[in-house]
C-alpha cells in the first residue's frame, strides 16, 4: 500500500489525535466551562468539539504546517458555543447573568475562605463583551499567548494584544466600581 506523500497513515493520525486529546482535554473543558458557565453545556460542548476535531484532524494537520493545534481546537469550541447560543436565540441564563455556579465551584475547590475578590473578578468577566471575555479565558485559564489567541479568534496579533489590554482595563473598572 502506498500512501500519497501529503497523507499520513491513519494509524499515525489516530495516535496523534489521541495525543492531542490527552494534551488538551482540560483546555477545551476549561474554555467551554468559562464560556458557557454551566457544567452540562460545557460537557456537551467539549464532546462536540472533539468529535468535530476528529472528523477534520487530517486536514487541520496538513494546513497547520507543524504549528500547535490548540488554537484550532479552541476555535472549534468557540464556533460551537456561538452556534449553541444562536440556536437557543438567547444568551445563556445561569452562567453569564448569574455566576453562582462558577463562584460556588471555586469556593469549594480552590478559593481561600473570605476572598470574595475572586468572585467579583468572575462576576466581572461574565459582564464583558463576548470577544473580550473569550480572550481573557484563553489567556488566563488556558495560558495561551497572544499569537495562539489571535489564531483562535481569527484576528491579527496586534489586534489581539489591544483586545486583551482593553479587556483587562474594562474588567478592572468593573471590579473596582
Amino acid at each position: 500500500m502506498t500512501e500519497q506523500a501529503s497523507h499520513k497513515p491513519k494509524a499515525q493520525l489516530d495516535a496523534e489525535f489521541s495525543e492531542l486529546y490527552r494534551a488538551h482535554l482540560r483546555d477545551v473543558y476549561s474554555y467551554a466551562y468559562y464560556r458557557v458557565g454551566d457544567h452540562h453545556d460545557a460537557e456537551d460542548l467539549t464532546e462536540q468539539t472533539f468529535l468535530q476535531a476528529y472528523r477534520h484532524f487530517e486536514r487541520a494537520q496538513r494546513e497547520s504546517h507543524g504549528r500547535p493545534l490548540r488554537p484550532w481546537l479552541i476555535r472549534i469550541a468557540h464556533n460551537l458555543a456561538a452556534n449553541l447560543y444562536r440556536d437557543r436565540s438567547r444568551k445563556p441564563v445561569s452562567p453569564i447573568d448569574d455566576t453562582t455556579t462558577l463562584t460556588a465551584m471555586h469556593t469549594t475547590e480552590q478559593l481561600v475562605e473570605g476572598r470574595d475578590e475572586l468572585s467579583r473578578v468572575l462576576d466581572g468577566v461574565q459582564k464583558l463583551p463576548d470577544d473580550r471575555r473569550e480572550a481573557l479565558i484563553m489567556r488566563f485559564a488556558l495560558g495561551m499567548d497572544n499569537r495562539e489567541i489571535a489564531r483562535a479568534l481569527g484576528r491579527s496579533d496586534g489586534a489581539t494584544k489591544v483586545l486583551i489590554h482593553r479587556a483587562i482595563k474594562q474588567l478592572e473598572e468593573i471590579v473596582h466600581d
Partner: protein, 116 residues
C-alpha cells in the same frame, strides 16, 4: 499596557483557574471516540464485500486493510488509557493494562484479517 497591572493579572489568573473535566465526561467521550473508530472498521468491511464484485475496485482492499487495522489502533489506545485510569493497582495496574492492550491489538488484528 497589561504589564502595568501585574497584581490584577495574578488575581485574574487565580479566578480563572483551569477546570478539570468530570470523570464521567472523560469516560463518555473516550467511549464515543472508540465507537467511531469501531464504526469506521465495520463500514470498511461492509464496503469491501460489495466492492469485490467490481474488478475496478480490486486494488482497494489493500488500502482498506491498512485503514481498518489502524482504526483498531486508535481504539486500543483509548481502551488502554481507560483501563489504566480504572486500575487501582498503581504501576502494576498500568502494566496489566498495557498487557491487555497488547492482547487487544492481537485480537483486533485477527478480527480484521480473519474475515477476509
Amino acid at each position: 499596557m497589561t504589564e502595568a497591572v501585574p497584581n490584577f493579572e495574578g488575581l485574574l489568573r487565580e479566578a480563572l483557574a483551569p477546570v478539570e473535566p468530570p470523570a464521567d465526561l472523560v469516560e463518555r467521550l473516550e467511549s464515543t471516540l472508540t465507537s467511531i473508530t469501531e464504526m469506521a472498521a465495520d463500514e470498511l468491511e461492509a464496503w469491501e464485500l460489495s466492492a469485490m464484485r467490481d474488478p475496478r475496485n480490486w486494488a482497494r482492499p489493500a488500502a482498506a486493510l491498512v485503514v481498518g487495522g489502524t482504526a483498531g489502533a486508535a481504539l486500543v489506545l483509548l481502551r488502554a488509557r481507560r483501563r489504566a485510569h480504572g486500575s487501582p493497582g498503581g504501576l502494576d495496574g498500568v502494566l496489566e493494562a498495557a498487557e491487555r492492550t497488547i492482547g487487544d491489538i492481537g485480537r483486533e488484528a485477527r478480527k480484521l484479517l480473519g474475515d477476509r
